[in-house]
Amino acid sequence: MNSPDDLVICRCESVTLGKIRECLKSSAARTVNEVKKLTRAGMGVCQGRTCARTVELILEREDGTQLGTEPYQVRPPIRPVPLDDLAAGAEDFSEPTGPVSVVMLRKPLGTEGCDETHAPKNGARE
């Protein structure tokens, strides 16, 4: 491939071809998902819809990775969804009943005598 290093591959996160090449040379990344996590290509607002195919081609041509080896992991939401749209259906879901920290009723180590039944154990989950 003769394309220059400063060619922008992921425009959402401004990841250049040079950065992807460097990642392939200097790390153990072998799949598009690994390259994504090390370079941020595909982590921006379009979540790889624009650049995923290009990154796959780069892996094939620069690294010998066969196309289709491992696709970009696609997760919902498949396009950006405002928080209030997500929240609108909250009451309709019977599962889950609450966060893991509230559902678990065990008494934490060293809190004998400490009545934190209301609180998630350890306060807010990080």
Partner: protein, 395 residues
Amino acid sequence: MKRMPRKTGQENEAMKSTEVVVVGAGIVGASTAYFLAKAGLNVALIDCRGVTGSGGASQACAGGVRHQGRVPIEMPLALYAIPFWKILEEELETDLHYRREGMTIVTDEENLVPRIEERVANEQLLGLDIRMVYGEDLRRLIPGISPRMLAGSYCPIDGHADPLRTVNALVSAAQRRGAVVKWCCKAQCLVKENGRIVAVNTSNGKIRCSQVVLSAGAWSRALAATVGVTLPFEPFTLQMMVTRRCPHVLGQVLGWLGHGISLKQVPSGGFVIGGGWPGHGDLATGKTALMPGSMAKSAFTTIALFPSLSKRSVIRAWAGIEAFSMDEMQVTGPISGVDGLFIAAGFSGHGFAIGPGVGSLIADFITTGRLSELLSPFNLDRFGSSGTEGKRNAE
């Protein structure tokens, strides 16, 4: 599949023996491998996944670095471990996006205010810089917080960092210091002879060693069982969301007592939303799937806490499997009857902030033989004799 030969720091031939094998390259394993390599030991860090891991707790971590809200018995460890973050970026020569602008846990319920006040008083006694903030002061401290919030516990030295950058940086720094890192190398069983560890059997062959640090999160339980050690862990899948980049309006980490939310805005501009909401996960494959109800309820909670976010869009949700122990506290320590085995797992969703510090203490133990008092409350034998299903001492 055709592949061109890779010239990286990773050894391609099977590794035969080393001093210490660290199983699991999450925050605890990567930290431990780094500090062991720094101390000059021969270390192999192995992980069944590829270079950026998937499915484990560290990759579904909200990145909070907090002292407050920890179980009191863990506060000394937190007060020791969290200051590591001040020097970590320089030590690892990488920007970890660490920010220390404070965390506030709030409540909108009058009858819960004394509960927070009591925790703050206890934490002050333990030496933490933390204070209560009420009403208008709270709104001035955190512009944008819901006006229904009445009071909160504000710790100015709490903060957050980027888990992905941090784990990657620890692994790279460990390699620069001489640690050998083996990806896609699945530990299958631990091997002991005459009551001491002699090797780890892996998918890439047997690695002979004299020490094993078992920091494989939810996968530690099965591995410990291969040498007759019972870890009272259950796997829970935790789910996260992130929004698209927004103008910076929030410097603190926010929590809301009794509600599942951990809200922060990261340096690149997105809001990272955690809070312990469950997803679906399969321990055997490491694969996770999202629970839509968690996304909806988490979104609902976020807007109730910080209303100006209602129109901000979520671009991604993801999940990872964490090991929760029976008392929601980690197991750290050597195991009597299995010399050379050190367990460091079961951090139950609160291992990230203390991970680097814990790794340093584990390295100290392995090099000196002396276990820090900071780790001793978390010994496995608090559950009853190791090797049997635990009786909880706290029951």
